[in-house]
C-alpha cells in the first residue's frame, strides 16, 4: 500500500513536468554521453554499450511502426536486421575483396531489407494476430537458417569477419582534402573506427529516424495505421486500403531494421548468424512493449533499459558475472510479467493508451465485452 502510494506521488510529480522538457533533457544527456568517456569519468566499455543500445533503439523504433502503430505482431523482425547486416558485411569485407562506399551500402542494405519485407508481407498480411505472429516467426528462422547453411556466400556459422570501417567520404576525396591543407586530426573523423565516432554516427541516425517516424505518426498515413489497428472493418469502410497500408508499415519497418543492421555490421566488425536468433526478435518486441507501444519516447527508453540494464548488472555483479548470464532471460521474463501486471501501458506510454489501461469501470468492461462481440462479427463480415 505504502509503496503504491509512493509510486503514485512520484508519478504525479514526474507528470507535472511537461513531456517536452523530458525529451530535451533525454536528448541532451544522450548527446553528451560520450563526453564522460572523453573526460575520463567512464570506461570505454560503457561507450560500447551506448552504441549497441542506440542500434537497438533504431530497431525498436522500426518495430514500433508495424507493432505499435499498425498493430501487427512481427516475431521475425530480426531477420530484416540480418539482411541489412549481411548486405553490408559481404560488400565491405575481405570475403569477396569488395569495399563499396558506406553511403551506398547503407541505402542498399535498407532497400534489400525492404524487399525482404515486401516478400514476406505480400502473402501474409491477410492473416491476423496469432497467425501472422507464427508466420513471421518462421520467416525469421528461415532467414537465419539460410544464412547458416549458405556456406559459400556467408561462411555459415563462422560468420563474416574483418568488415572495413565506414568512410564518410571516398578515399580519393579524403586524400585530395588532405592535399589541399585540411588537418589530419579533422580528417580522421571521416573514417569511423572509434567507439565515440560510431556513437555519434548512430545517434544521428536515431534522431533522424525518430523525427521521420514521428512526422509519419501524426499524418494521414499514421492515422490510417492506427485505424487499422483499432478496427479494420471500420477502417476499410472509411476509405483506407488495408493491404497497401499494412504492407507499407511492414516495408518501412524492415527498412529501418536494414539500416540498423548495416551500421551494426560496421560497428561489430564481425557478424555471424548467432546475432540473429529468434530470442533477439523477442527482445526487440519486449523493448517496444516495455517502453510503451506506439510511443516514440517510450520505445527509446525501453530499448535503452533492456539493452543497457543487463550490462549494468553484469558490471556490478563482478565475480558473479557468469552466474548472471544464466539468469538473464529469467530476469527479463520477470520484468515483463511485472510490467504487464503493474504498468501494462509501458514505461512512457502514448497518452491515450495510458488513459485506457487505468480507467476501468463496469461500464467500460461492458463496452469491451460488446466490442469483443463486434470483433467476432467483424471477422465474419470480412471473411464472407
Amino acid at each position: 500500500m505504502g509503496l503504491s502510494r509512493m509510486l503514485q506521488t512520484l508519478r504525479s510529480i514526474t507528470e507535472r513536468v511537461p513531456r517536452r522538457v523530458w525529451a530535451v533533457a533525454g536528448f541532451s544527456l544522450a548527446a553528451i554521453f560520450p563526453l564522460f568517456n572523453v573526460l575520463g569519468f567512464m570506461p570505454t566499455a560503457w561507450l560500447r554499450v551506448g552504441v549497441v543500445s542506440l542500434v537497438f533503439v533504431m530497431l525498436s523504433l522500426g518495430l514500433n511502426v508495424v507493432m505499435g502503430e499498425a498493430g501487427l505482431l512481427n516475431l521475425g523482425y530480426i531477420a530484416f536486421f540480418a539482411v541489412g547486416a549481411y548486405t553490408t558485411a559481404l560488400l565491405s569485407s575481405p570475403k569477396f575483396g569488395l569495399r563499396w562506399p558506406f553511403w551506398a551500402l547503407l541505402v542498399l542494405s535498407a532497400l534489400l531489407a525492404m524487399v525482404a519485407g515486401l516478400l514476406i508481407g505480400l502473402p501474409t498480411l491477410r492473416l491476423r494476430g496469432d497467425y501472422l505472429a507464427i508466420v513471421t516467426l518462421a520467416f525469421g528462422e528461415i532467414v537465419r537458417l539460410t544464412i547458416t547453411n549458405l556456406q559459400p556466400l556467408t561462411n555459415g556459422p563462422n560468420g563474416v569477419t574483418g568488415i572495413y570501417p565506414p568512410r564518410l567520404l571516398s578515399q580519393g576525396a579524403i586524400d585530395s582534402l588532405q592535399a589541399s591543407g585540411w588537418s589530419e586530426a579533422l580528417l580522421k573523423w571521416l573514417v569511423i573506427d572509434k567507439p565515440i565516432e560510431y556513437y555519434y554516427l548512430v545517434f544521428v541516425f536515431v534522431v533522424i529516424t525518430a523525427f521521420l517516424i514521428s512526422n509519419l505518426k501524426n499524418s494521414r498515413v499514421g492515422r490510417a495505421w492506427n485505424a487499422l489497428r483499432e478496427d479494420e472493418l471500420a477502417a476499410v469502410s472509411s476509405g483506407i486500403t488495408a493491404a497497401r497500408a499494412k504492407l507499407l508499415s511492414v516495408v518501412l519497418s524492415a527498412g529501418v531494421a536494414g539500416l540498423a543492421g548495416s551500421v551494426y555490421a560496421y560497428y561489430s566488425n564481425v557478424i555471424s548468424p548467432e546475432s540473429f536468433l529468434f530470442m533477439q526478435s523477442v527482445i526487440v518486441v519486449c523493448m517496444v512493449v516495455l517502453g510503451g507501444m506506439g510511443s516514440i519516447p517510450g520505445v527509446i527508453i525501453g530499448a535503452i533499459v533492456l539493452q543497457a540494464l543487463p550490462q549494468v548488472i553484469r558490471e556490478s555483479a563482478g565475480a558473479m558475472r557468469s552466474e548472471f548470464e544464466v539468469y538473464r532471460m529469467l530476469i527479463f521474463g520477470l520484468l515483463i510479467v511485472a510490467m504487464v501486471i503493474f504498468r501494462p501501458e509501458g514505461l512512457l506510454p502514448d497518452k491515450l493508451w495510458r488513459q485506457e489501461v487505468h480507467e476501468v469501470d463496469p461500464r467500460e468492461l461492458e463496452k469491451t465485452r460488446q466490442s469483443l462481440f463486434d470483433v467476432e462479427e467483424g471477422h465474419q463480415d470480412l471473411e464472407a
Binding site: 512526422n215 509519419l216 494521414r220 483499432e230 472509411s238 476509405g239 491515450l352 463480415d381 470480412l382
Partner: protein, 262 residues
C-alpha cells in the same frame, strides 16, 4: 431530381440462404429513404453489399450512374458512399478529432515521403483537414467542443459515440450516406435530437439511406420508406402507405396478428 443510387435486381446469398433476393430500388437526390423490416430481413446485408463488404451474386449497383458493384469497401468510399455501423465501430484509442480525420482519408493526398518530411504542402493539407473536421464536428453543437476533441473516442458517452460515427462518415462529404440504425440504444430524448440532426443533414444537401427500427424516427424523417421481409422488398412509398400495407403488417405481426389488427 436524379437518382443518386440505383439497385438493379441485386441478389446476395450465403450458402443456401438468400439473404437478399432480386432487390431493386433507387435513392433520389437529397432525400431520406428508410428501410424497415423485421430482424433477418436482409437490411444490413443490403448495406454491406452497397458499401462493398460483400460482392453481390447478381444485379448491379449504380452510384450516380456508375457501377460500384464488386468494388472494395475503400474504393466504394472513395466514389462517395460512406456509412455507419449498427454495432458502433469507432477507433477507440484515437482522439475524437483523429476519428473524423480518418474519415477524410480519401479526401487527402499526402504521400509517405512527403508526410515523413512534413513538407509545407502536407502541413497545409493537414491544417485544412483539421479545420474541415472541426467544422463537421460543429454540426453537433455542444457535443464535441474544444478539449473534448482530443479525448479518446472510447471515453465518450454512448450517444456521443453514435454521433461521432456519423461525423466520421460525413467527413468525406459523401454523395450518399448510409446510416445503420442511427438511434439504436438511445433514449427518446437523444433519438429526437439525432432525428433533428438527420433532418438538418438533408437541408444541407445530403442524401441519406437509413435502416431504422424506431418507427417514430422513421415517420419523422423519411421522405419515402421501403419495407423488406426475407430478403424481398414487400412495399415502397410514403410512411403512411407502407405502415398500412397489409404485407408489412403481416411481416411484423404474422398472418393472424395482421387479421386482428385490420
Amino acid at each position: 431530381m436524379g437518382n443518386v443510387l440505383e439497385l438493379q435486381g441485386m441478389s446476395m446469398s450465403f450458402g443456401g440462404l438468400k439473404a437478399v433476393d432480386n432487390l431493386s430500388f433507387s435513392v433520389r437526390e437529397n432525400e431520406i429513404l428508410s428501410i424497415i423490416g423485421p430482424n433477418g430481413s436482409g437490411k444490413t446485408t443490403t448495406f454491406n453489399v452497397i458499401s462493398g463488404l460483400y460482392e453481390p451474386d447478381s444485379g448491379d449497383i449504380l452510384l450516380q450512374g456508375e457501377s460500384v458493384a464488386g468494388l472494395r469497401p475503400d474504393q466504394v468510399h472513395e466514389r462517395g458512399i460512406s456509412r455507419t455501423f449498427q454495432s458502433l465501430r469507432l477507433f477507440g484509442n484515437m482522439t475524437v478529432l483523429d476519428n473524423v480525420l480518418v474519415g477524410m482519408h480519401t479526401r487527402t493526398k499526402a504521400g509517405v515521403v512527403a508526410a515523413m518530411l512534413r513538407l509545407p504542402s502536407v502541413r497545409r493539407e493537414e491544417a485544412a483537414a483539421k479545420a474541415k473536421a472541426q467544422e463537421v464536428l460543429a454540426m453537433f453543437p455542444g457535443r464535441f467542443s474544444g478539449p473534448r476533441q482530443s479525448d479518446p473516442a472510447f471515453s465518450l458517452s454512448y450517444a456521443n459515440r453514435r454521433r461521432l460515427e456519423i461525423a466520421r462518415a460525413l467527413a468525406s462529404e459523401p454523395a450518399l450516406l448510409l446510416l445503420d440504425e442511427p438511434v439504436a440504444g438511445m433514449n427518446p430524448m437523444e433519438s429526437r435530437e439525432v432525428m433533428e440532426q438527420i433532418k438538418e443533414l438533408r437541408s444541407r444537401g445530403y442524401t441519406i439511406l437509413m435502416i431504422e427500427h424506431d418507427m417514430k424516427v422513421v415517420e419523422g424523417v423519411s421522405d419515402r420508406v421501403i419495407a423488406m421481409d426475407h430478403g424481398v422488398k414487400i412495399a415502397e412509398g410514403s410512411y403512411q402507405e407502407v405502415a398500412t400495407n397489409h404485407l408489412v403488417v403481416e411481416a411484423y405481426l404474422g398472418k393472424r396478428g395482421a387479421g386482428t389488427a385490420s
